[in-house]
């Protein structure tokens, strides 16, 4: 294939990747904490939460990066009988179901959870509000065992239960792992790129997933040599580069707001992430890597970007710039997480 075909295919790849969202549906009684759970999974307040009753019965759809959350506030009420729900939301188009509960099972929970399981859908059972789990004179372990037994009795099959608290963040890391493990391999990267990292291992998975995107973007930017880089005898597509950088930053959740609130020892790194994220910053970075050849490891890129692009003049430069930016974002996110987990290193 020639450069043009390779580029067209790559663009298609990138578009598909972005258009095909990972769809996660959350079921649960009003007040079971579905919105809070969404916010914890993505690490940003994307869903509206509150203690008062949400009176809408429309499904709330929340998009975050490559994730799409479908939150059903009024499920199982008279306005939303189960059968009608199944017709309207076509569960076969959803990738994963989180059955969220924060107390005993209501009739609608039993009916829905059973129906989903019977339909062969992947369901994870999440007992939210772990911090509320308390009973006079009994241990948390006893209470947990009782809940697991209750789920089995209501659903009619033994299911693992994830116990989480959005307030103390207990159990969230296990839930994130649980979601990842139950996804098809093709969807795992999507999830790793978009979900909040609760552990350093999550962060590594995120880096790996992001790296694949970097190859694609770098390839496309090099193939579309539209904008000559000043002082360098090759052109790249700056808008693609810009998109790549923005996507990397978003994957790590490094919003301006978060970066500006960093502790002093992390500020220089944070500032670098912000500066290199601008068009001027990207040009600087490209110039820094001008003349760098990708040919040494060309074999590894071919399956991702195609032979012609792997050999294109600007590819070494765009790839190195992308990887360098990914490295910076990763390091910053890692230091921030270490600080959050209380394992920060002295600087």
């Amino acid at each position: 294939m020639g450069l043009r075909e390779d580029a067209a295919k790559l663009r298609q790849d990138i578009d598909d990747e972005q258009n095909v969202k990972l769809r996660i549906a959350l079921f649960g009684q009003p007040g079971s904490g579905k919105s809070s759970l969404i916010n914890q999974i993505v690490g940003q307040p994307v869903a509206r939460t509150g203690v008062t009753t949400d009176t809408t019965v429309e499904a709330q759809v929340i998009a975050h990066e490559e994730l799409l959350f479908v939150d059903l506030p009024g499920y199982g009420t008279s306005r939303f009988p189960p059968n009608e729900w199944m017709d309207r939301f076509r569960p076969e188009e959803l990738d994963l179901f989180l059955c969220v509960f924060a107390g005993k099972f209501h009739e609608a929970d039993t009916a829905f959870f059973k129906e989903l399981r019977a339909a062969g859908r992947i369901c994870l059972f999440v007992r939210n509000k772990l911090d509320d789990l308390w009973e006079d004179g009994r241990t948390t372990e006893e209470l947990r065992a009782e809940i697991v037994a209750d789920v089995e009795r209501q659903i009619g099959a033994a299911e693992p239960v994830f116990f989480v608290s959005c307030r103390t963040r207990e159990g969230l890391s296990e839930l994130v792992d649980g979601i990842k493990d139950s996804l098809a391999p093709a969807l795992r990267d999507k999830y790793a790129r978009s979900a909040k990292a609760f552990t350093l291992a999550h962060l590594e998975a995120k880096k790996e997933a992001c790296e694949k995107s970097v190859y694609k973007y770098a390839g496309l930017a090099a193939a579309n040599g539209l904008n000559p880089v000043p002082g360098v005898n090759v052109g790249v597509d700056m808008s693609i580069m810009y998109k790549m950088f923005a996507e990397i930053r978003a994957s790590y959740g490094l919003t301006d707001e978060k970066v500006n609130k960093l502790i002093p020892s992390l500020l220089p790194l944070g500032k670098r992430v912000l500066d290199y994220g601008t068009k001027e910053g990207i040009v600087l970075l490209l110039k820094k890597f001008a003349g760098k050849s990708a040919s040494t490891a060309v074999g590894r890129f071919v399956p991702i970007v195609g032979q012609a692009i792997a050999a294109a003049a600007g590819f070494g430069m765009t790839l190195a710039a992308g990887k360098s930016y990914l490295g910076d974002c990763h390091e910053l996110a890692q230091r921030m997480l270490e600080q959050e987990l209380g394992i920060g290193r002295a600087t």
Partner: protein
């Protein structure tokens, strides 16, 4: 007693065990004169049984069934399940959580003898559900608001501004008094006890 016992899988042809128990409750209450009668009503897991245990300092007979299990308190299986708890000179009914598969709210609301009680304590945790709204509306329409107390359980985690937002929301849906209660720190318990005892001359 055991002669009339039927297996849990075999309710009467026309009536379920739940319906029979609800009717039996009305009959049993009718023959208890001059005693303060209090019902604890609410969603499954709202903390009705635990509240009863706390109010009676674990001394009511029989003791309520507290647990994480759905339908821990069940009137849907045993047609002779104890329905009434006695403590000193008072009588309590610890209703099973309405809206579970075993206790659908329709049957429950239709047959529960609301008028037989001097005090109705409606508990809920998290948010007010459609079934709670139906119950509160029914209480208002029957003119029982004055003897009803709305209790938000698991309230220890609520911040002050959240409580105020909740009070504003409920004011539109229920005209009676509201108490925030926590089984963990026992806040709100004295107010509930006072509401139950108020004006009792028996």
């Amino acid at each position: 007693m055991s002669a009339a016992r039927q297996g849990p899988d075999k309710p009467g042809p026309a009536q379920t065990v739940l319906e029979r128990n609800l009717k039996r409750l009305a009959g049993e209450l009718a023959v208890i004169p001059r005693t303060r009668k209090t019902a604890l009503l609410g969603q499954p897991g709202a903390g009705k049984s635990a509240l009863l245990d706390a109010l009676t300092e674990r001394s009511c007979q029989p003791r309520p069934v507290v647990g994480q299990r759905t339908d821990a308190t069940s009137w849907a299986e045993d047609p002779h399940a104890p329905l009434i708890h006695r403590c000193g000179g008072a009588v309590f009914v610890d209703a099973p959580g309405y809206g579970t598969a075993a206790h659908p709210s329709e049957a429950f609301f239709k047959l529960f003898p609301f008028r037989s009680f001097d005090r109705l304590i409606v508990l809920f945790k998290d948010k007010l559900h459609a079934a709670d709204d139906r119950l509160l509306l029914g209480i208002a329409r029957s003119g029982l608001t004055e003897r009803t107390l709305l209790v938000r359980s698991f309230a220890d985690g609520l911040a002050q501004e959240e409580r105020e937002a909740l009070r504003r929301e409920w004011a539109a849906r229920f005209a009676g008094p509201v108490v925030f209660y926590s089984a963990r720190d026992r806040s709100g318990l004295p107010e509930i006890a006072a509401f139950i005892a108020a004006g009792d001359e028996s």
